[in-house]
Amino acid sequence: MKNALIKKSLSDIGRRAAYLLAGAALIALAACSKETPSKPDTASKATPTVEAGSLTILATSDLRDVEDLAAQVKAATGVQITFKFGGTFESTDLVQNGKAGTDAAWFANAKYLLSDPAGQARVRQQEKIMLSPLVIGLNTSSAKKLKWDNGAKVSWADVKNAAKNGQLRYAMSNPASSNQGFMAVMGVAAAVAGKSEALAAGDVNREAVREFLAGYKLVGDNSTYLAQKFKERQGEDINAFINYESWLLSMNAKGDLKEPLTLIYPHEGVATADYPLMLLNEAKLENYRKVVDYLKTDAAQNWLAEKTLRRPITPDAAKKNAGLFPANQLLIELPFSTNRGVADSLIDAYLNEFRVPIASTFVLDVSGSMNDGDRIGKLKSSLKALAGQDNSITGRFARLNSREKIWFLPFSYTPGTPTGFTIPVAGKLEEKNATFAAIGEYLTGLKAEGGTALYDATLVAVRNMAAERELHPENAYSVVVFTDGKRTQGINMDAFVQGYNAVFAGQKAAKKIPVFLVLYAEGEAGALQQIADLSGGKVFDARNQPLSVVFKDIRSYQ
């Protein structure tokens, strides 16, 4: 490409400067002493450090494994890159509204962002850095059973049917908040529609999407969390993982799975993440170019291929590293619809119609300390936002959805009584608004006083959910605990663990109801983590970010 020619002329200039510098050094040395003159090489090596700089990057969280490259970038270009990580849709929201606060953005896939004029206008330059197709990693034994091994031709319709029949039970990141899940759903919609080109709104076969999602058994927002859960439940109730090829190959390479995954590349096509690095801040153009040019060198491309198992974008590095990837795969790319309406309506349908409805109990600390700094007020307003009309990209996905059930369980000295609400089915807007209003009213009425019977309340909530599940096994149950301090009242941790285990005695790990905990103010990180580990949940830290953001996060795991 042109770049290479530019580089050639550049290095000419560099060389010339080096010679001049060396010449000067020679003269200087000749004048002062008789030591050996330094070589031109050392002089030219010194030039990059003349102009040091920085480039801050908002990156999607799947790019954490690229962070280590920063040192090499610095050494080669003098530019210090620093990352800030976020979920795909959260980051899209930030960039689109000009609130990224970074010089650049690096997404696995920016097509959703760039299919909107507002998003496009924020991006000054972009360049693709590497590739990884979204594929299905299936237990080798299951692949054999389904006769999907040995390079068999598998179509998206086969995938959808296997999901519907219970033969494919997969882990995948949330389609409403992350790119992998979103692209998979788009892929099914496109491929099953039998369309050979970009989808229009009328083309979406909703039944097919529903059937595909029937196999969606393990929900979460980030791949690290999902991988952990997948390892625990692989072969139990989960037999597949839908993610980027790079992630699945890495999991296989680690060798700690119960059995390796066979990678399935549906033959109509796949959606490939192409990792565009996008310049947002024009003033950093020079540093951006330096970083991009370096990332496309053989050294960087080889590193990315070897360490992260993403396919190189440059043909030379692709050839060199071909052995790292399954051979003879002609990857057909599914066209991506530029119609945001299609994408948005799919996500909306996922949340309000297709997904397993969420049923959860929110355990709310209303002890006296919640009056400090109006913590109780902040808690109320962020919960009200879930039941409100937050119309940002993430807000739409985080708020309470149709068919969802939610209970609030306030506690101080003792656990209160769970109060439940059910969000009406899609389409019943008036009823939905009335329910939201009722939730708002309930929350307004909460008052903070008294002690912290943390474990009693959590256990009551777990029992409440387990009992509900007996009656309505079709929902996805969880408990969300919010506390600002240590337990002061009621049972201790040991008693809680005993109580929790008693609820699920004799049941598989997958049957445990996960407890998600929000760490706030003087909350006790260690104890909360213990509960998360016990239940297969997760701790969310709200000490350094707004509560509303944390609640949005939690929604992706429910």
């Binding site: 490409m1 290479a4 000067a24 990059p48 590739l131 033959h267 096509g269 043909p315 990857l331």
Partner: protein, 386 residues
């Protein structure tokens, strides 16, 4: 990176020269005199140098950054300050009392638009076309074979007099595309029997010139081999062509996007990529080799993307003459993959890098007027919103 490094290099060079000078003056009188003589010469030249400013398209930016180009221009007493701007934005940069000395847009359409705007603002303009590149379809051997088997393409004479390029009947191909045929629907398509539609991929026509060239070409074919000239025709044909853009789905809006997909992702995403010939040529020249499966197909008819120079002031005319005629400057343009009056050098250099290009491209059409183009682009933009 480029200018930064250059600045750094110049700074280093200056420091070195200064440092050297100081040490020298203390020890060696003769050398000091030499330094002074050189400086005097530089001063003299400085006085004669004419500074001119220009707004240029991305395609020629590397050319202007080439040290050899800068040197030849300086030897001819020109120091040219260029800034990169999208070709279609250029006309808006002209005001009565403020405009650059010249514009260097990509394409005749943008060139005419700029000349018109400049005349309206009271400038006397002159148009030059120092070099050009034909629009081509970058493809793959298996694809070319399928199209050949379907009598849509045929092998054609390339480098060394061999049949190592292809000629595509654009009328037939457009027919297949508009009929929404899939690759696997075509007879003899075992080399690429996929469910994707037969479509040429382009950049976003709302943003980029190469896609506009595609529009110019397909509209000609759909208009019974005539350049679209009326508003009514523009509206009717714009609607038809819109389909060819819309059905591609997401398109890259930056100039290299489509080409990057062709070389980076390959046949699975981009079986047919509408590009400037010089994109693939410079790619081959810089790497000295290309994938054996890559092949160039020349649409019949085709269209040239001419690099235009539109001058607004007198000194710029001399500069435009110079890059249009100076043998060295023309030869350097060839290195960047452009065609000049002497195409042989380009054919030979590309062949050495493993890429065969057609020595002579004939059956070339002119694009419609920019008003007609704007009309069609507007229609397509409306369609793509739906």
């Amino acid at each position: 990176m480029k200018s930064g490094l250059r600045n750094a290099a110049i700074t280093v060079a200056l420091m070195a020269a200064l440092g050297g000078g100081i040490f020298y003056s203390a020890t060696d009188k003769r050398a000091t005199d030499q330094v002074q003589a050189t400086a005097a010469l530089a001063d003299k030249r400085q006085a004669q140098i004419v500074n001119i400013t220009g707004l240029i398209a991305l395609d020629v930016e590397p050319y202007f950054k080439d040290a050899r180009v800068i040197k030849v221009l300086e030897d001819n007493n020109f120091r040219v300050n260029v800034t990169r701007v999208g070709s279609r934005e250029m006309a808006s940069k002209i005001a009565k009392d403020a405009a650059p000395d010249f514009f260097m847009p990509s394409g005749v359409v943008a060139g005419n638009q700029i000349a018109d705007a400049a005349k309206k603002a009271g400038y006397t303009t002159a148009n030059y076309s120092p070099f050009y590149t034909p629009m081509v379809i970058a493809s793959w051997v298996p694809i070319a074979k399928i199209l050949t088997a379907n009598k849509i393409a045929q092998p054609s004479t390339g480098a060394g007099g061999k049949d190592n390029t292809y000629e595509v009947d654009l009328g037939k191909l457009t027919e297949v595309m508009l009929a929404k045929k899939r690759w696997r629907d075509l007879p003899n398509s075992s080399g690429y029997d996929v469910g994707r539609s037969v479509l040429i991929s382009t950049t976003d026509v709302r943003k980029s010139n190469s896609a506009a060239m595609y529009l110019a070409l397909t509209s000609y074919v759909l208009n019974g081999s005539e350049v679209v000239a009326s508003k009514e025709k523009a509206q009717k044909i714009g609607l038809q062509v819109a389909d060819l853009f819309q059905r591609q789905g997401y398109q890259e809006s930056y100039v290299n996007g489509n080409f990057d997909d062709y070389v980076g992702i390959g046949m699975g995403k981009t079986p047919l990529a509408f590009i400037y010939e010089n994109q693939l040529v410079t790619y081959a020249l810089s790497r000295k080799t290309i994938d054996k499966e890559m092949v160039l197909m020349y649409p019949k008819p085709t269209i040239f993307n001419k690099v235009m120079v539109v001058t607004l002031r007198e000194p710029a005319k001399k500069f435009a003459d110079l890059i249009s005629t100076d043998a060295t400057l023309q030869a350097i343009a060839v290195e960047y993959g452009f065609r000049t009056n002497a195409a042989d050098a380009l054919v030979e250099a590309s062949a050495k890098a493993g890429l065969s290009i057609k020595p002579r491209v004939v059956d070339v059409i002119d694009p419609p007027s920019y008003e007609t183009m704007a009309e069609m682009i507007e229609i397509i933009t409306q369609q793509m919103k739906n």
